[in-house]
Amino acid sequence: LTEDQVLGNLLQQLGLRQAPVLDKAEVQGLSIPAHVRAEYVALLQRSHGDRSRGK
């Protein structure tokens, strides 16, 4: 897995052509809401259980 593959996958999932450039100031005051964090944790736990079978 390369850095480019992670970026390509992320862009594809978000439907973007290129990575957005965000200033530090824009995200500095940004706090992650509880429901977003809860969704992230739930997905994290599920990804340990669900495995997709490849080739």
């Binding site: 850095e3 824009e26 995200v27 490849g54």
Partner: protein
């Protein structure tokens, strides 16, 4: 019949145009626990047809009379209903006798996916006539297979070709103490991807700061040549990721001058398991419920 757009069309059963045989193979403990099925071959011995019947049938077709032999896997569901899956089907001349071989690997693959205790492997062999018309009636009965327990030799056989995964499989996680050499047997190696150190992820990817991606390294033992006859265009066995997991992320998104956070899940990002597999080999179908 329950659609309002179609009128029901009733059919009448006129005559049986096929003969069917059910073969039952007790496979439990026939496949070693740590083994990989390479190929399963069903061998049926065809008995010679009566010459007089053959001559009569030969007059009907310039190409020679043929019948269609179909192999299906029969599964008895928990509710008692039957379901068949097509495994192989081919045209066979009514002339001649001897062994016929059918590739039934897929049927054994399906059987392996059944919940334990597993029913025996049930293979339904049907012989259908190809030519239409009353003159060809009974053509399917000219192709007869020797039955189990028959006095004559040639009862049905199921040949299982397997590889011992203790030699031909992967070995799990790599030993962190030992380095990876050319001779290292296929294993899963820890690889950390540091997202914080990537320029494009700056201020965009909020979680996670990095993750253990793992990678499959090392080589696989190649089987003896006589086992590679199954698929002529298949490549050597390679160390590949056979099971992967998704990676969730929290990213910041800018919309209409406002910045908010969002969860996104990237599929197949983390290797869960490495295996040795033939490059280009068909992927076994997953058994439907």
């Amino acid at each position: 019949r329950f659609s309002q757009n179609f009128r029901e069309v009733a059919g009448r059963f006129l005559a049986s145009e096929a003969s069917t045989h059910l073969l039952v193979f007790g496979l439990e403990q026939r496949l070693p626990p740590r083994s990989e099925l390479v190929q399963a071959v069903l061998r049926l011995f065809r008995e010679p047809a009566p010459k007089a019947a053959l001559r009569r049938l030969e007059r009907l077709s310039a190409r020679g009379a043929r019948v269609r032999v179909t192999i299906e896997w029969l599964r008895v569901r928990d509710d008692g209903s039957n379901r068949t899956s097509l495994i192989d089907s081919r045209l066979v001349s009514v002339q001649g006798s001897g062994w016929l071989a059918f590739d039934v690997t897929e049927a054994v693959n399906f059987w392996q996916q059944l919940r334990r205790p597993r029913q025996p492997l049930l293979l339904q062999v049907s012989v259908q006539k190809e030519l239409l018309g009353s003159a060809a009636a009974g053509a399917h009965r000219l192709v007869r297979f020797a039955a189990q327990g028959a006095q004559a030799q040639g009862e049905p056989q199921l040949e299982l070709h397997t590889l011992d995964l203790r030699d031909y499989g992967a070995q799990g996680n790599c030993d962190p103490e030992a380095g990876v050499a050319e001779s290292t047997r296929c294993c899963r190696q820890e690889t950390y991807l540091d997202l914080q150190g990537m320029k494009w992820a700056e201020n965009w990817v909020l979680e996670p700061p990095g993750f253990l991606a793992y990678e499959c390294v090392g080589s696989c033992l190649q089987p003896p040549e006589h086992l590679t006859f199954t698929w002529p265009f298949v490549g050597p066995r390679q160390c590949i990721a056979s099971e992967t997991a998704a990676l969730p992320m929290i990213v910041s998104i800018k919309e209409g001058g406002r910045t908010r956070s969002q969860v996104v899940s990237l599929p197949n990002m983390r290797v869960q398991r490495c295996s040795c597999a033939w490059d280009g080999a068909p992927v076994p179908r997953v058994l439907e419920p």
